[in-house]
């Protein structure tokens, strides 16, 4: 199914008001820059952006489907072919890395405003694609679009202050927060802020509720399984992990460890700096670990699971039709198979079903020896090795127990991206596969 006239007529009204909204937004920005900052050139630029948005708005509402602004077909095809779990994960990680390294540049208000506008424009153009729109506008998916923009905005707010503070600290000044040390009365200063927040949130929620009806599908039927069957959106990161791990790990062990790790965090982070103000340089290790875990392994996986996983949990590009007939070749192999059969050219170690129990266990251990060795090295060799090299200072400061908890949580967290890479490069299915005990890893 490709964008057809009927669909475009449907979204034309929405897109028209969308672009009109962008025009108003930029006009206000231009006015602000002109009157408050007195930077006429910049103001003129944003005023012309506002005008351009108005043109887009009138094009969208002109009544002819072909004039609705959209991305060229060839570009959408290209995006579809280029997108896949590998490029998605590598690409988003690279984007985060770039944003981090050049954070001083990206926190400049005008740069951020440009990026924001570009993102909104791209979103509008993409919405003229039927497949894209049908996924993004699904009522339960709308909050995730909001989440993405909110996270981007607040990350910017926080990074801007952190960059400023880091510069001040480098010059020997206290963080900005310290300047606001004086005490004020809670009534009126805080109470009124809270009141305004409440009114704003109520208004926002009311508008949302009036504009977007809550979904209600057909009555429940335990025989008609929908394809794809998805958990609620905030668990889709976990569901996406099922591609790489068995449910006992992706759905039970790892989430428990995430909760435990979050709780343990304040007791593991021995760095006394960066308490009560925004800063990055004073706590780089904690900051990067958190951002990787939260933004990449939690949020980005949710977006992948929600927007890019279709029937049979196959991957679909953002402009691709969710066909239930898409076939993905699965030729993943277990490590014992790779080791014994492919490498040594021997059959997998086997034992007769009526052999005594120790022979059974022994055979399993032998068969799984390659995976067990890898796991043992990862879990038992790596921690001491890291303790005397990369983490030497950490180990000295944390002591044995805290170090062990920290390093094991790190290794568990990293098990996900590592398994992803192994899957993509070697087609590895399981490192260890013991069906006798339903234990696959």
């Amino acid at each position: 199914m490709h964008s057809n006239g009927l669909f475009l007529k449907d979204v034309a009204g929405f897109l028209g008001s969308y672009y009109a909204g962008l025009a108003i937004m930029n006009a206000i920005a231009a006015f602000f820059i002109w009157r408050r900052k007195n930077r006429i050139g910049e103001a003129g630029f944003w005023a012309s952006v506002a005008l351009a948005m108005l043109v887009l708005a009138s094009l969208a509402m002109s009544g002819s489907a072909s004039s609705v602004p959209h991305l060229p077909e060839s570009l959408r095809k290209l995006v579809n072919t280029l997108s896949g779990p590998v490029n998605y994960t590598a690409g988003t990680t690279a984007l985060f890395a770039i944003a981090f390294v050049f954070r001083k540049f990206f926190v400049k208000p005008m740069v951020a405003w440009t990026v924001f506008n570009a993102a909104l424009l791209l979103m509008g153009l993409a919405m003229a694609d039927e497949n894209f729109a049908s996924i993004v506008m699904k009522p339960d998916n709308v909050p995730i679009v909001g989440l993405v923009f909110l996270l981007a905005f607040f990350t910017w707010v926080a990074t801007k202050q952190a960059v400023e503070n880091d510069e001040r600290i480098a010059q020997g000044l206290p963080p900005l927060e310290k300047e606001n040390d004086e005490k004020v009365l809670v009534w009126p200063d805080l109470v009124y802020t809270e009141l305004i927040c409440m009114v704003a949130v109520s208004a926002f929620l009311l508008a949302w509720a009036l504009l977007l009806p809550a979904p209600l599908e057909e009555p429940a039927s335990s025989v008609k399984t929908p394809n794809p069957s998805k958990a609620p959106w905030y668990f889709l990161g976990l569901q996406e992990m099922l591609v790489y791990f068995d449910p006992w790990y992706a759905g039970v062990a790892l989430p428990s460890m995430v909760v435990f790790g979050l709780m343990a965090m304040p007791y593991l982070d021995f760095n006394k700096k960066g308490n009560g103000y925004y800063s990055i340089n004073e706590r780089k290790f904690a900051y990067l670990t958190w951002q990787f875990g939260f933004l990449e392994l939690w949020i980005m996986l949710i977006i992948l699971g929600t927007f890019l996983r279709g029937p049979n949990w196959n991957f679909f590009g953002p402009f691709e039709f969710w066909s239930p007939y898409k076939v993905e070749v699965l030729n993943n192999v277990d490590l014992p198979q790779m080791f014994w059969v492919n490498l040594l050219n021997r059959p997998l170690p086997r034992v007769a079903a009526d052999a005594p129990w120790y022979a059974q266990i022994g055979t399993i251990l032998l068969r799984e020896a390659p995976g067990l060795v890898v796991m043992a090295a990862y879990l038992f060799l790596l921690p001491p090795l890291l303790a005397v090299t990369v983490f030497r200072k950490y180990f000295a400061k944390m002591g044995l127990i805290r170090y062990l908890v920290m390093i094991n949580l790190m290794l568990l967290m990293l098990s996900l991206p590592l398994k992803m890479v192994l899957r993509w490069t070697l087609n590895l299915k399981y490192l260890i596969s013991i069906p006798e005990f339903s234990l696959n890893f």
Partner: protein, 257 residues
Amino acid sequence: MAIGETIRNSQIWKSIFRHPMPLDRRNRIVVMLTNFFLHLHPVSIKKQGIALSFTWCMGGVTFFLFLVETVTGVLLMFYYRPTLEWAYNDILALRDVTSLGVLRELHRWGAHAMVITTWLHMYRVFLTGSYKPPREFNWVIGVILLLLTLLLSFTGYLLPWDQLAIWAITVGSNMARASPLLGYEGPGQQLLTIGGIDMITDGSDARFGLLGARFVGEETLNRFYVLHCIAIPLAVSLLLAIHFWRVRKDGGISGPL
């Protein structure tokens, strides 16, 4: 003016509000100390502790959304019966018949919003390093609140009893089937046998405990309804009380020393 004066001087008004209008400095202090709702707050506070750029007001917004969910949720309970016969039809009626059916939208989008604002609140607490001493334990309470918020949302997801609902819960709860030792498809459950009798079956494992049945059915609906409307909100309320109390006891909103 005069009417306002009369009302504010009446015995009824004075019996409700234990303080005069907070118009001057003295009474602005008094109001914080003598009003039940306001005494959650301190009397005065560091300016940076209330800067929007610092807290984003996210904890406050999350709490407000919890209150919105409580009110709309109670009203929804008037219209909704958690049985196979009625659940879906009652939701249908909220859409098509009930004049205040928009309650359902408020409740559903409010729930999504609360999940998002909880994450954003946690994000800002991390980014300002506010989990560091002496606030470690309040962060731990926060993590439990986060978990409970997700569970609130998850249990509520089932109640409309449509295809979206039961399959999302089916997919979600299938994980419990794979719990190590305690799920009947989980690793190591084969080890739990007594005298050759399997202890962990699809009728006794972790998933059964969650669903009250072998698959998502009427027992599950009842169980999730009770969890959603009573058990989890009570737990959240208690933890919120501790959370707010600890914010005060830990020295108020964090700031540079």
